[in-house]
């Protein structure tokens, strides 16, 4: 420990007194303990045993026993101290939660002994608007003072009799500041340039370069998107993907442009209500409201839609309070807050602002009684970039339509010739008779509709597996077989015929069983002798369905997007004029929704070939041309057109072009939109949405700054109130979160809770100075970041001695620089950058980097989406752009403490686990990065020896040059691997793997 000795500096301005311990400060030291450890039972609400510890008076009055809780000046005679130090389980306080820490007990003792000073009506520090404190002047400072931040930090160190750490070496600082400001490591050229730049402006030049980088916004969007609980899916059981990424890109752009934080706030809370907001001409304010549309939506069938809506409003209130007020309001959902001055009424007055937006779900169809669809409001954004492509695609569509029309006309000409041959064949050709559906059952709870053509269209949630049970009655006789058609439909993914997913709409029919019962007779299974199909997948022939062994069933990959049929020939004809009841059982149990999406059943008569003539066509054919009705002629035309190979091919091309066109629509994004008819808001008793109490009007908590009165208060007023210069919390809360990003911990270490239960700031004057500086400097985020990045406090080395670690293990006093593991996305970004793989592309739809196969395939409820790994540069985009599916988030990020974005997160945990080691060693993403790094070493240092390449690789990873021990270890690894494999590439990959796995590589040092 570097203890201060007499020659060291004196502080001339506050904090004034050094020397004996300062007196205990009630607001700073005592109230937080009482609030967090005692108020659960002895706070303002329903005190246990009648004892309240909310004022000196109440403490002296004591509880029902009449014993005062304390005796001012005599801790030894104070009941409070006796109880918190009791050893008997029955007596010890608190009864709930952890025991008090020795330091807390000491503080309480000292406070009582010093007279138990308990100021009345003293507002908690965080609810008093900050004023700019004087900057301490340190004479003979022990370190360079770069800006006022340092004066505050070093003044505190003087007080603590500690010395600041020396500055980190230049390479380490450059890496630290690059990772902090743009989330990427410096390139070797940047390192070299900075090491060569000996001017006094060198650091400032680097910081300004980084602040101007487009990657700055990407890096700083990450923590903001955690606050916004931004994700690319709804969450809950029906976790379908949603399109709202333009909001994510707007955050990046806003940060790059240093959009003043007050405007940044107002746009996200209420951009839709700002004058001039328009999806085409001024979309940003609308896009920004995606912040609160990121709340998860429950679209599960059978969910109570009003409950879902209320839960979202609650989420919006709680998130707003956490992000802009650093306050935990959710306690006040059910009752007045136990510690902080927020009443339940305050809560629902805030709720009223958010209670006016549209519901995001509706019944899935007019008939549906429980199944839901996501209907949340969105806007389509301008997409001028795609205009030329759209025009070209439309032109292609027109050409195909013309060709279809021409081909159809030719078919009409060919009709007479076809009729002649068809009539000749009709004598022996089979005829098909569409069966009328009497009932349809899906074992997987699918919905269905019987269409006018008697085909059954499956709807709603796609079950993993399904068995259809279909009943039909017919009076046909001489039935020689059955035809099963698996048909396309625009409502099916990729047009079908399967239901699983758009990319591969296959189905696998495992068995096709039929029973027949004559009127009054028993149902008997029918026997088949043969099955043929329009097309069968290589190892899934339709013949499997009639083979005794069964086989794997019938499937149709890769001929998706077109109709298919299979004919099943009976061993013996069946049917009677009294009627036959047929029950078809279609088992489809492959999983992953490989089930038929639209099907039709027909009975066949006559001898079965592969080209059955439909019965209705067969009926028309014998009628002389002149006697046919228009409808009959049209029927023949339609039949011919439907079976003309050229037209079938054209129609398939058309479907593809239509699909392309659909994909060319401009991006959509979710927005807030007010309902036309305002809703009434009431206090919800115990938070229960079915139990409304007293009605309330929109309004803000009374303890905080006033809101100017308006006639019809709405979200825009709330947004302006949050970003008001009079708001005592917003600037402090915001700069504190940034501080946390730079130093690993905020100046207030409970960044989500500035209330009485939260921790007091470690450097209160510094916090207030930064808050005021932020507001007075036009709410500029970049200005504050520049100050922090250029401070000497931030520049300190992160080395820690055992003594300092013992004194201040978590670096509260800032006597050293920050050192902590990078966050999940940054670990991957960093590895890809080092390997030379990282794509610099900004923005756009979410991407799907490699993840192990199958993770999205099997899931109860919702659309089925196969995780198709992105190709090209999209395989190597920054982690910010990785698709965030709440029920199945990207696994390697989760292993590094990312969260599934189900709720607002202010602080991610930072754990250290074996799964992290396995991820970095074995995840193909990192294996690929190691291989690429090995190649990069060879490519960029072609003529270098082992030592030089090792040095280069080391510099790429951690910016500094390796010392002798480090070089030797890596060179030895190369030699071992070279000897074992006799392959330089393999040996270099091992070295690269080691480099990417170093603690230092994944750490901001």
């Amino acid at each position: 420990m570097r203890l201060l000795v007499s020659c060291l500096g004196l502080i001339l301005l506050p904090p004034a007194v050094a020397g004996s311990e300062p007196p205990v400060d009630f607001a700073r030291d005592i109230r937080p303990i009482l609030a967090s450890r005692c108020y659960d039972c002895h706070g303002p609400e329903k005190p246990k045993g009648g004892l309240q510890l909310i004022s000196l008076q109440s403490a002296l009055r004591g509880g029902e026993s009449g014993t005062p809780a304390l005796v001012a000046g005599a801790s030894a005679r104070s009941e409070l101290i006796a109880r918190i130090t009791a050893t008997d389980e029955e007596d010890i306080m608190p009864q709930k939660g952890e025991r008090l820490k020795p330091a807390e007990i000491t503080l309480l003792r000292r406070w009582i002994d010093e007279g138990a000073v308990w100021p009345e009506n003293q507002k908690h520090w965080a609810y008093v608007k900050p004023t700019r404190p004087p900057v301490p002047i340190i004479e003979n400072p022990n370190s360079e003072i770069e800006n006022p931040i340092d004066a505050f930090v070093f003044a505190r160190l003087v007080q603590e009799k500690l010395l600041p750490s020396p500055a980190a070496d230049k390479a380490r600082w450059l890496r630290r500041v690059s990772l902090d400001l743009i989330g990427l490591p410096p390139s070797p050229a940047e390192v070299a340039a900075f090491l060569d730049d000996t001017s006094t402006e060198a650091h400032a030049r680097v910081v300004d370069r980084l602040l101007a980088s487009p990657h700055y916004g990407e890096r700083w969007a990450r923590p903001w998107l955690d606050l916004a609980r931004y994700a690319d899916s709804h969450g809950f059981q029906r976790d379908d993907l949603r399109e709202s990424w333009p909001y994510r890109d707007w955050v990046v752009r806003a940060m790059n442009a240093d959009l003043p934080f007050d405007q940044f706030t107002i746009m996200q809370i209420a951009g839709d209500l700002l004058p001039g907001a328009d999806a085409q001409t001024n979309p940003d304010p609308l896009i920004a409201t995606g912040f609160h549309r990121a709340a998860p939506t429950n679209v599960e069938a059978g969910a109570d839609q009003e409950e879902g809506r209320v839960n979202q409003v609650i989420d919006r209130v709680n998130t707003t309070a956490t992000v802009w007020l650093g306050s935990t309001l959710e306690c006040a959902q059910c009752h007045n807050h136990k510690y902080d001055p927020f009443s339940q009424r305050d809560y629902y007055r805030l709720f009223a602002y958010f209670n006016q937006t549209e519901r995001e779900t509706a019944f899935a169809s007019a008939k549906a009684t429980a199944t839901l669809a996501f209907t949340g409001p969105f806007v389509s954004l301008p997409d001028t970039a795609n205009d030329p492509k759209r025009a070209a695609t439309n032109a292609r569509l027109k050409t195909i339509d013309d060709e279809i029309a021409a081909a159809s006309a030719r078919v009409a000409d060919a009709l007479p010739a076809w009729e002649r041959s068809a009539r000749a064949a009709l004598a022996t050709a089979p005829q098909s008779h569409v069966l009328k559906i009497a009932s349809f059952e899906s074992s997987g709870d699918s919905g269905h509709r019987v269409l006018p053509d008697q085909s059954v269209l499956l709807t709603d949630d796609v079950p993993d597996r399904d068995t259809y049970t279909i009943t039909a009655r017919t009076t046909l006789t001489g039935i020689t077989g059955f035809k099963l058609e698996a048909l396309n439909d625009a409502s099916l993914p990729g047009n079908g015929p399967g239901r699983g997913e758009a990319a591969r709409p296959n189905f696998v029919l495992n068995s096709f069983r039929v029973t027949a019962a004559s009127a009054g007779g028993e149902a008997r299974p029918v026997k088949f002798v043969r099955a043929t199909a329009s097309f069968s997948q290589a190892t899934f022939p339709a013949a499997n369905l009639v083979a005794p062994a069964g086989g794997k069933g019938w499937a149709i990959s890769p001929q998706f997007g077109r109709d298919h049929w299979a004919n099943f020939e009976l061993a013996a004809p069946l049917g009677s004029p009294e009627g036959t009841t047929l029950v078809f059982t279609l088992v489809q149990n492959l999983g992953s929704g490989r089930t038929i999406g639209r099907l039709r059943l027909s009975a066949l008569t006559g001898s079965i070939g592969e080209a059955a003539v439909p019965a209705d066509v067969a009926q028309v054919l014998p009628i002389p041309v002149a006697q046919r009705t228009t409808a009959q002629t049209a029927l023949l035309h339609a039949h011919l057109i439907a079976h003309d190979p050229a037209i079938v091919a054209l129609k398939q091309s058309r479907a593809k072009v239509v699909q392309e066109l659909a994909e060319l629509t401009g991006p959509r994004t979710l927005v807030m939109r007010e309902v036309a008819q305002p809703r009434m808001t009431a206090v919800l008793k115990r938070g229960n949405f079915l139990d409304p109490g007293e009605p309330v009007q929109p309004g803000t908590p009374e303890i905080l700054h006033a809101m100017p009165a308006t006639a019809t208060p709405n979200r825009l007023d709330l947004g302006r109130w949050l970003a008001d210069r009079e708001n005592p919390l917003v600037a402090r809360v915001t700069v504190n979160r940034w501080w946390q990003e730079f130093f690993g911990q905020g100046l207030v270490r409970t960044p989500e809770d500035f209330g009485v239960k939260g921790e007091a700031p470690t450097h209160p004057e510094l916090l207030d100075w930064l808050a005021v500086e932020f507001v007075e400097h036009g709410w500029s985020m970049k200005h504050i970041h520049r100050l922090i990045a250029l401070s000497a406090a931030y520049r300190q080395s992160s080395r820690v001695t055992p003594e300092l670690l013992a004194r201040d293990d978590s670096n509260r006093l800032l006597a050293r620089g920050p050192r902590f593991r990078l966050e999940a996305e940054a670990i991957r970004d960093n590895a890809l950058a080092i390997a030379g793989l990282l794509s610099p592309k900004l923005g756009g739809p979410p991407v799907r980097p490699y993840q192990p196969p199958g993770l999205w395939d099997s899931k109860v409820g919702g659309d089925r989406v196969t995780y198709e790994v992105s190709t090209g540069e999209d395989a190597h985009r920054r982690g910010l752009y990785t698709v965030w599916k709440r029920a199945s988030p990207y696994p390697s990020f989760m292993n590094f403490d990312a969260n599934n974005r189900g709720a607002c997160t202010v602080r991610r945990s930072r754990s250290n686990t074996p799964l992290q080691a396995l991820t970095l060693l074995n995840d193909p993403v990192y294996v690929e990065a190691a291989a690429a790094l090995a190649q990069r070493l060879a490519r960029e240092r072609p003529d270098a020896g082992v030592a030089e390449r090792v040095r280069f690789g080391f510099q790429l990873c951690v910016a500094r040059t390796p010392n002798a021990v480090e070089s030797a270890a890596l060179e030895e690894l190369f030699a071992q691997q070279r000897a074992a494999h006799r392959d330089d590439a393999v040996a270099w990959q091992a070295v690269a793997t080691a480099l990417l796995n170093l603690d230092e590589t994944i750490t901001k040092n």
């Binding site: 009684t369 269905h448 409970t750 696994p891 754990s911 080691a917 074995n922 030895e972």
Partner: protein, 480 residues
Amino acid sequence: MHPIETRLRDVTRRTFLKNSGVGVGAIALSSLLGESLCAAAQLSNAAAAGARPPHFAPRAKRVIYLHMVGAPSQLDLFDHKPALAACDGKPCPEEFIAGKRFAFLRGHPTIAATRFAFQRHGRSGAEISELLPHLAGVADEIAIVKSLHTDEFNHAPAQLLLHTGFGRPGRPSGGSWVTYGLGSENSDLPAYVALQSGPLAGAGTGLWSSGFLPSVHQGVQFRGSGEPVLFLDNPKNHSATDRRQVLDTVRRLNEAQLADVGDPEIATRISQYELAFRMQTAVPELMDISKESADTLALYGAEPSKASFANNCLLARRLVERGVRIVQLYDADWDHHNNLATRLPAKCRDVDRAMAALIRDLKQRGLLDDTLVIWGGEFGRTPMAQTDTGTGAKSNPGRDHHKEAYTMWLAGGGVKPGITYGATDELGYNLAENPVHVHDLNATMLHLLGLDHERLTYRYQGRDFRLTDVHGKVVKGLLA
């Protein structure tokens, strides 16, 4: 073996089995930098992994939790209600629907009696339906709780409420709370493992997520096919020797870095890399059930190298044998809104033999005494029939979601065996005695593990969170 590693291993093994409360980082650090730093490191984030003492003497050391995703029908399995037969097919009493909300039922539904036969079993005379003949054989080992109730009647929220104490995403699962409270007893395997048969449950991987607790407490999914744990296998052509050489190099550099900068997190990192290396051997060994005796395989109905509930039950026993604290099994497809008459028997065939085998096997190995087994779904099913699919189409009858009353069973780990606890009313709609809310179940689970659910708290976003939120009471009547 490197001397530090030897030391680390010896010390950590020993330490993990005692309740020292000292993490790996602290031990590694003390060996590197001398004892003086040990105390400081204990204060840091490093000490996350080792075993920690419970609040009081535990009855159970581990939990196997069999979650039937979708919610099995208690009325067809355990809660026998002969009175339903009398009004089968008749409109249900008005009070069943007045002011009530259902996921799917609309209008005035009819009563549906069970189609299955019930019998009394064992000395305890527990009523169990014919669909669970194997479980009936161990009736005297289990405590059937007929009075569960919950607040949520949609799958994802109810699964989240049961697992995390809150019906919306973001909070830690019970398993994470337990490992947060008690740490790990095995230095080669994660303390909390999830196994799955069938599709992922509606609430997704959030069911075994550590929420706002550090991710060291998250459940790790072991998979029946492919890599048993994601990223467990070395890349192709990278042998164990290659891996060891890389790891030794990484460790040398990390040690140099530790000596230079002194950050205890580096010591933890070193130990976590060693643990990862050991996991690469321990996990495949664990997952290989082919060396189990033919009798054992037959008892469970397990077949090596197949993903099934039966295999998962056998794996659960192997996991708890190795000191894994929480094993959570998820079996899908219990959501029988229609065709209950055929679908429920099929699902029972999937699980009955194996779950009974699990109890017998744990017992014969002396593990049942301190292993708590819990079986059940996220809610129950209605005494009324559901005859549509919610899309407007008709269907063969099933039952809708029911949050007012349902059944779960518990066994071992300090639970009174051979009892039936709680009861529903005559028609099985409401609770009649001894209600057990899912919060109470969680409070009881923690209690059996030696944890006071009101004291197991974590400060986050300004609140002291608990698994039981602000509710829950230990169900004394279930304790042996």
